[in-house]
Symmetry: C2
Subunit: 335 residues, 2 copies
């Protein structure tokens, strides 16, 4: 493994692919890789891209990557698919987009699907980000699909978050969720050659100017609510709505510029460090949960666990009392 | 509280609303309510409804509720919004749909938004289901938006899961996620008066007949992989694709029949009990996590936690080592 990690640091693409696979399949490998590479991380600009299915996100991400390559940057794309914990996910789609990038120097694309647990996916994605970071990829584009926790996780993992919509999708109130707008550093209306694009832009802009977000970003157990000190400074970041037609490359150069401008803003305002802290906090929370999970499996046998589940199902004991018992048991045996 | 719970059991709507509010705001209240009402639960048919924004889900749920009322059933609607942990969510939309149900006897609608943590929302939703169950609501419709973990959670909380799509939304591979199809007991193509409806139906049917799902539904720490014994029996449930135009009430009577047929199937096949067990398991997992979270907050001060976060951010210590330390500390102090 040490040999592999050395090669990762030298940017060897086969070593990178190999270590990511190891990390996906084993917690121990994730621990070794992250511990070993951690001192060499912290340089990459992590950009999260999220939006509903059908908004053309993958094409947009591919095109954005090409923009950065034009500027001699090395770009990693991590396509995270949290919505298919069951089977393989959008494999066909993956192949098409990889074809599109064939022969593109400097772009490394990797897709990661949930293999049963969202926690496992989060751990592997977070490790993959560090691997690319240590391998000196200056920009890491992390793409995810869907609404909900996935978006929030991406906002917590990224320095810059792009939220992508398409014309017609963002017009009803239901789909323009305040929560999604509030994680956005840049809003993109892709497929802007379609009818209704301008209406979507206007709707998003209206939403942007409605109401102030409250400061309760995330209540994890390591989370402190950060007062918006930097945000109060004279130059707060203004979220813009940008139109693109990714499939024709339109608006992509502007988008790349905005992403770079956001990085500069983060650095100048001190928010970069704040976001780094948030990323660390989230990661510690996830790892703590992993540890707790492992502890339960060590201390309470599957038979005992199933017995309790059955008792609750039969209404012999209520879930709170059951958990009290289980928790006491875990603590006794750990002591 | 005991007085309130007594009133809940008698179906007093004001008591129900009050207890749900208490449960949303305090863990202690959730514990008291669930423990007190638990022996009186287990009768309700919990139906999960999920689908992307814009598919007309809320109208469909309202109309489905009306169908059951026609059959003299009391129906509860819980509209869960996991996608807006930041601000208020789709309040305007809520008001419109509540207006629609004004004067409808026998339907109780309640919306629940995340107030910062997904864990809190899951706990409150699960408690609300029990409250309605104990208050003798025969059908509980739990509606959620978005793709990802929310769907999986709903499938775990429900006896029957409806996945709703709209024409044009489900045509590209990206949006018809295998994972979503595999949680569906019934697939609904709503807005079927729109162009392309039949194409969407065909696409979904094709997906349904492609590939067998593997059995790894969920890898929580209390989870056992259930072999599909009942599913192997002669009469496996056939997932159907049903067309509706909810806004005109079209197809709703058929949908209500299918939902009832699924309940009968679950009962006859023994799957009802299996799903009840899965629900209990999930709930125990969530409550265990809550307990663990509380234990961390008790044993490690915020200052200590922040110190560790800062050390990781500065790359002085890697996250795995940091978690090792934290975990040891928690166990020592708990002992």
């Amino acid at each position: 493994m040490n040999d592999l990690l050395e090669k990762v640091r030298w940017g060897n693409v086969r070593a990178i692919a190999r270590v990511i696979s190891l990390v996906e399949n084993s917690k121990a490998a994730a621990q070794t890789a992250v511990s070993g590479l951690f001192p060499y991380t912290g340089q990459a600009h992590v950009v999260g891209i999220t939006g509903p299915p059908g908004c053309g996100k993958s094409t947009l991400v591919n095109e954005l990557a090409k923009q950065f390559v034009l500027e001699e940057q090395r770009v990693a794309i991590i396509a995270v698919d949290p919505s298919s914990p069951f089977s393989g996910g959008a494999l066909l789609g993956d192949r098409a987009r990889m074809m599109d990038l064939t022969g593109q120097q400097g772009i490394f694309i990797r897709s990661m699907a949930s293999r049963g647990s969202l926690g496992g996916l989060a751990r592997a994605t977070s490790a993959a980000i560090k691997i690319f970071d240590a391998a000196d990829y200056g920009i890491i584009l992390v793409e995810t699909v869907g609404a909900g926790q996935a978006e929030v996780d991406i906002a917590n993992a990224a320095h810059t978050t792009l939220v992508v919509e398409a014309p017609g999708m963002g017009d009803d109130l239901q789909s323009i969720k305040a929560g999604i707008l509030e994680i956005a550093d840049v809003l993109v209306v892709n497929k802007s050659d379609r009818p209704g694009a301008l209406r979507t832009v206007k709707a998003l802009e209206m939403m942007l100017h409605m109401g102030q977000p409250d400061q309760t970003h995330h209540h994890g157990y390591l989370t402190k609510i950060e007062p918006a000190t930097h945000a109060d400074a004279q130059e707060k970041w203004q979220v813009e709505v940008l139109q693109t037609v990714a499939i024709e490359g339109k608006g992509l150069s502007e988008l790349a510029q905005l992403v770079k401008a956001h990085r500069s803003y983060l650095m100048a305002s001190g928010e970069w460090e704040e976001r780094e802290k948030n990323r660390s906090r989230r990661e510690l929370e996830q790892l703590l949960q992993d540890r707790f999970l492992a502890r339960i499996q060590e201390t309470v046998s599957e038979v005992e666990r199933e017995h309790l589940v059955t008792a609750v199902t039969r209404r012999e004991v209520d879930p709170y009392t059951a958990v009290d018992r289980l928790f006491t048991q875990i603590e006794k045996r750990s002591a």
